[in-house]
Assembly symmetry: D2
């Protein structure tokens, strides 16, 4: 008998056909019961990772304490009995999304923050991003006698810190991060310091907030909102901040300066619409994408309908710009979860219908514009189209709020292998035929840049964002991947 | 040390300030693995009751089997190992919402369907509604030697059936239901029959679907959609249908005919927007309420913003009718649940902020119209108003998609006691002051009737719907409540 | 995939080859936190039933409360959070062993005490024994409109009480028990009274203790010891005691007097050796059985070795009488439990070796007398013999501290069907050959009677005990069984 | 509200007043499904550690896999679904007892085996014993950049291995163990090799068995018995064996030879009576201790009664030698466990009575000799004495099967601090007065040595065993302890 194991509904549901952020990070210093604030912050960042979460806190009397749990923050880090084991005024935390490969085998020791005891005291780190030379670093560290406890690329950082010749922990962290290639936003803590760092390109977000006499670091501003912290500013690409309750925020620039390349997909899908990123409202950007899309790819129709929930802001923008009425043609079941333990065949076969239902009375006989944020494999788009047609729609027009996703992300996002990406092998028209819809249009790369405020569109000579998933232009060479056979665009 | 127990977040979150449907029911006959279909149907009806669920199935070889579980359908009734214990082509199920009083003490034996073994074989019943003479019936049955196993009013039905002098189960059911006062939609099963009944007023919904060679009964059509069943018709008020795989649907009229009084609040809030009820799309009705509201209570403003998620259709209608832009000014955290085990103080104090966040960039400096479906205690409305003002809104105008809720429901809905209802003690203007908003307007009772298609509004001499929660006019006397001291409007 | 379910180790381990008591009962009145005392008493009676336990308590302020749990008393009824839900100075409880047939299907509703609300107030009952006319009673009660909630024969009693015409609960209980045939010791409670009853033959034990100002009823005296209660006396066969904190113990004789027939197997195996039953020490009786056995069936050997743990007292007596040294030739693993969830093949095949190991150094080269309490199927005896021979024993002699078990018990004990009993189909010599041992001797029925203090042995005309499992003479006709095809000895 | 946490019954029950072995280890190579055999072996070694267990296996296709669980082996490592995750023909495992200090804080990462990935492949180790210079080693390793994941002294070994300059794993292990001081029996594994090592003094046991074409290593022979392995020999003090399926057992001697000092307390209490250790039957040794004790400290009495279960063999020996009858005066409740979750006051106060009951009928009026294996704090001895006197014993005489325990063990055993040991502060007569018994006698150190076969008793110039707990003569200096303030006998 094969073992019973959870069945991943991503294999079939509406959220499957998305790229997945792998992490959210949060830290706070200078407030009583810091771990409680971290728990709230992580709850607000749950969309960035749902598989597991961890918190480390430090209290002078009780030292470092940590807790790691599979499942949602709200199901674990809200109980008194657990939170009482995490005392102190300094704490950091992490939520993680499991990557496809390791799923079902993830062990609790893979859950961050990672902790290391050094001769000058302990440190914990939480990492959002991906280290593109992790394999090489790991081999080198093992050769020297380091023992890895997890399968995570992020563990390299703490081992590099342990072996640094520097005498204090922030200096060791600089030392370590200079050996690291790739994308990283890191929050770390010592017994007295909260530390935040962004890689020189600033691929992943990280922001600073003020709460009472203390400070907070968070992946997104929505996590500052939940704890009632005031948004101060973003940590800048290549910046390292060392924060103590006493001295406040001290800024350093440990890396060679580079032109920033913030991830444009954070605007399209990853971040929450109520966050401010790169000085821009995510909601407003998405709405503006809808506006651009209505200009670029107008179509005569009766109804603009979002694919819930992520397509909503762009659909609002599209409806507003086009003048076509906006309506909830698809209704989401809010009691849906992500995984099932050894589900029945019936459940396996339900797929997207477990989560979405068509509002037949609204759709029937109408020419419908469906606005979705992206098309990855295209599997869900097909199912939604079928549901809409079954409900009696006269025409179905897809409008996609991002350009075709043709390349995998190696900077902290879970993407299918390139050959699984619909846009890697088909033209827009081929995709339209594949999906069998009346029309299918993606926003242009320039249109997307305009929506994020670059009036002249994309600067092809030196793009203002990381848009590798659309363009195949990787700002940091994915060396581990190349070693494993990945072929860059230039090599095709 | 006091015992650790779950903390009910309804005491503080955004969903608290709502009336709560207490049940959803579903049954199917004539399809293999009927219990799997019931599980799916109950999943689609989860919004009608989240505390617990139960399924009974019948298989000629293995007899009746049942499973009752606390928690969501998706967390229990999706696993092979449980569903294999529920074989057969005939099954019924129930999801329940716990009423405020019994919360924390609900025992698994209170979870329906109830089962009884009679001399001519077993029967199981699932009930949506409330029996208004349950106390008197219970006393009478105990006096005669019946032993009650639950604290549920619905258990009376099965005991009345057990004592009926009729020789077959449908006849016993008629016999029993003729003794019962109040609102009820009931789904029952014997070894061969699926039975559905609605009370003469038809207060609670019940509809019939066709799936392959079999049949389904469901509280709402959205539950037919999920299993791929075709919506045939509603069971009519006062109708009893007896369905077998062989003979199909046989209709009876066991009760004295009365003019129907369907619950109007099903349109306002309880039912899912993608359901068709009373021949009307719930979504369209809600959108139309928004339209009526914009006509009745216009206001000059910059943004129409729904209180998610139930205010959304009315907000769309309001925005459309008024021409004021529609936008997501409040964002909902989709990882929020309903209960917490011994939560920290911090969590207790968070309240609605755990679930909702303001989209500050959109709200700031704007005159905002918030569209919500109802105001019950008013506690959440206050908190949302504060969040909106904190985010820098210039003005806040509430528009409520139902009339003031001034009376409790005794027909299967969980309502606070009358003195806790804001509208029971305050006028509209007093409520506006209490909430401290720039304006507050409820839709008129006539406006609501117009939105549900009664062009001339409410027929005061004989209302077309049960609107007791707004009007205080109870179509069935709540005799148990009167015995316990409740005073009718006429008696005030 | 077949469902995962617990694997019952009784199917293979050393305890399988035993008869199983199905219940232990305990009650207390007149002490604070009565349920805590009940929990302790049930813990001391755990050997009488390990599958599940339940407690009902009554507190004037909070009414009746109950808890039922699968598993050991110590794993459930020791936590503050559960026990705080069971307040009051009056409580009763029950531990149950599942019968072979219902195993794996036992539902929590089958777990006693059973509770019924009558017009004059509630009552709860806990039953040890078996009702031999339960099927007939159940049919009759269902015909009249009673709804059974469990598959337990004991539930008949509470329904009979509910329908009694008497006006107080003790009188209703008398009324009910007069309709019941079979063996029963019952403990019941109302809001003020603790009630104990033994059937007229007194087949199952029940004793009375005094604790402070309160009183206790228990299956065995060892349960009085654990709570520090003083053993007062046994409840007599056919006696009913009604105990209140105020008036103490009032005795009644509701049944027609009969000559008592206490279960002799309680002395052989069921009861704990530290209990006093029928005025006799169980330990001393077992030791005396060993003495009688050494006289009846002496053998020249080097070592007397008990089959742990139940064979120990008889082995001590045998060694003492024979002068042959006593030694621990078999060692029990104290970390063994009874059930496993979907165990590996390896575990399934281990059987008795998971629980017992031979003390090879002691056994090797010796002529060994193994003293066991009984032989039921003989499966374990075979395995133990093989282990002993594998360890190098020169000879193996079995001495059994009970006569051949040739008939099933229908009075509250779990016995295999008659054809599975080794002694039902084989003579002593055939059994010896089947087990392939050097000698096998059972104590004679007269020897057993002498050991329990009947100097003249068994009175064949009117036996002093119920010994139906050995003699096939059933003091109460097992009418349900006969209806299902069981053939009495006289009918063979 | 303080957090709910398990209540450790060792604080009050009969097993508290014992020294506790901290570990049992087991490994197997060359048999299919090796992990299943390891699980069975660990089950047989559960008496050496009940808090947690772990297994690591290696399969060429699937690499190293591991599972660590709190609780009994039987509750975790018996299910197919877990064991299927541990494929391969090579596996090792560990059961652990938590030391008093870390209790309640033990994290799953403290549970062995420990695993390390080296450049030449992975290795896992399981350790029984204690490293007396672990603190110094840990400081040194951290200074060099090693990151410790647990609070276990045993983790030093794997870090020393990681940093060794040797090119193969067995050589690295030698390298590492040469830096380690203290007592250790270690079982390790690479992808192809099973490795066993005992420290030069051979303080902890380790034995070799043959099973089919494969081999097993185990703490005790009883663990070989359960899997049906043949006992080959003990691993010798200072020996390292490297075992492969192909080449069998290769022996090495990596350490400077020393005269062995096996732990004499393994014979007194730790090991199972059915094990053979140092060529001697543990049962026979214990029985012989009883014989010696009867000679050294005879007393006129009516009954020899063991304190169950560990006093039983010595009581049998005492009874045999003295001619005084042997009897079960104390009965153990076999359904007792070790920990309770937030127990009621009543449970807390029960103490030893939850587990033991006096067989009053046997004890009453008798002069009783109680034979126990050891006296540690004396708390349980007092309670047992009281129970015996309450039951009406005429006299109580304690006979203890070990000398007074006056010194803590630092070699892998959980002992109270020295000041808590009764014998550290009282003479034998003071202890007798403290316990208020008629007589109290411990076996002499020479008598104990005679019982283990040293006809001339203890060689004071160079003792044949480690008996530091009795003599205060520590064969390896406990340097970490001295650093923390422990004073050697010489220093007193």
């Amino acid at each position: 008998m094969p073992p019973a194991h959870p069945f991943d509904f991503d294999a079939l549901d509406a959220d499957d056909d998305k790229l997945k952020e792998e992490c959210g990070i949060f830290g706070v210093v200078g407030v009583a019961d810091a771990a409680n604030f971290v728990a709230l912050g992580l709850h607000a960042l749950q969309h960035r990772g749902q598989e597991a979460g961890g918190i480390v806190s430090y209290d002078p009397g009780q030292g470092f304490n940590s807790a790691r749990r599979f499942g949602y923050v709200r199901d674990n880090f809200t109980s008194q009995s657990l939170m009482q084991t995490l005392p102190g005024e300094l704490a950091i935390g992490h939520v993680r999304y499991s990557t496809a490969g390791s799923k079902g085998q993830t062990q609790i020791r893979d859950v961050q923050p990672f902790f290391g005891e050094f001769s000058m005291g302990g440190a914990a780190i939480a990492h959002n991003g991906n280290i593109t030379n992790a394999n090489a670093l790991r081999r080198e560290l093992i050769e020297r006698g380091s023992i890895f406890q997890s399968s995570s690329d992020s563990e390299c950082i703490i081992h590099l810190m342990a072996r640094s010749l520097q005498r204090d922990i922030p200096a060791r962290m600089e030392d370590a991060l200079r050996r690291v290639e790739g994308a990283f936003s890191v929050i770390a803590m010592t017994r007295t310091k909260l530390i935040g760092v962004r890689d020189p390109l600033g691929v992943r977000p990280l922001c600073l907030g003020k709460i009472g006499d203390g400070w907070a670091l968070a992946s997104e501003t929505c996590a500052l909102d939940i704890i009632g912290a005031e948004f101060v500013r973003e940590i800048e690409p290549g910046e390292m901040v060392v924060i103590t309750a006493e001295k406040g925020v001290e800024s350093q620039r440990p890396f060679r300066p580079q032109r920033p390349r913030f991830c444009i997909f954070e605007h399209v899908y990853f971040s929450r619409p109520d966050s401010i990123i790169g000085g821009r409202s995510v909601y407003e950007t998405r709405r503006q994408i809808g506006v651009e899309l209505a200009r670029e790819a107008p179509v005569d129709a009766d109804l603009v309908c979002p694919v819930p929930d992520s397509g909503t802001p762009a659909a609002i923008g599209f409806a507003h710009e086009s003048g076509i009425p906006y309506g909830m043609g698809i209704v989401r079941n809010q009691y849906m979860g992500r995984t099932f333990i050894e589900p029945t065949e019936q459940i396996r076969n339900m797929g997207v219908r477990l989560k979405l239902n068509v509002n037949r009375a609204l759709i029937e006989g109408k020419r419908v514009i469906l606005v979705d944020d992206s098309v990855v494999r295209g599997t869900t788009s097909r199912k939604i189209k079928e549901m809409i047609l079954d409900a009696g729609a006269a025409e179905v027009h897809f409008r996609i709020a991002s350009p075709p996703t043709a390349w995998p992300c190696f900077y902290g996002v879970d993407t299918p292998q390139r050959e699984k990406l619909l846009a890697a092998t088909m033209s827009e028209e081929e995709m339209r035929e594949h999906l069998a819809v009346d029309s299918l249009r993606f926003i242009s790369l320039d249109g997307l840049y305009r929506a994020v405020g670059e009036a002249k569109g994309r600067d092809a000579s030196c793009p203002q964002y990381c848009d590798a998933c659309f363009s195949g232009e990787y700002p940091v060479e994915p060396s581990d991947q190349i070693e494993q056979g990945f072929r860059l665009k230039a090599a095709e």
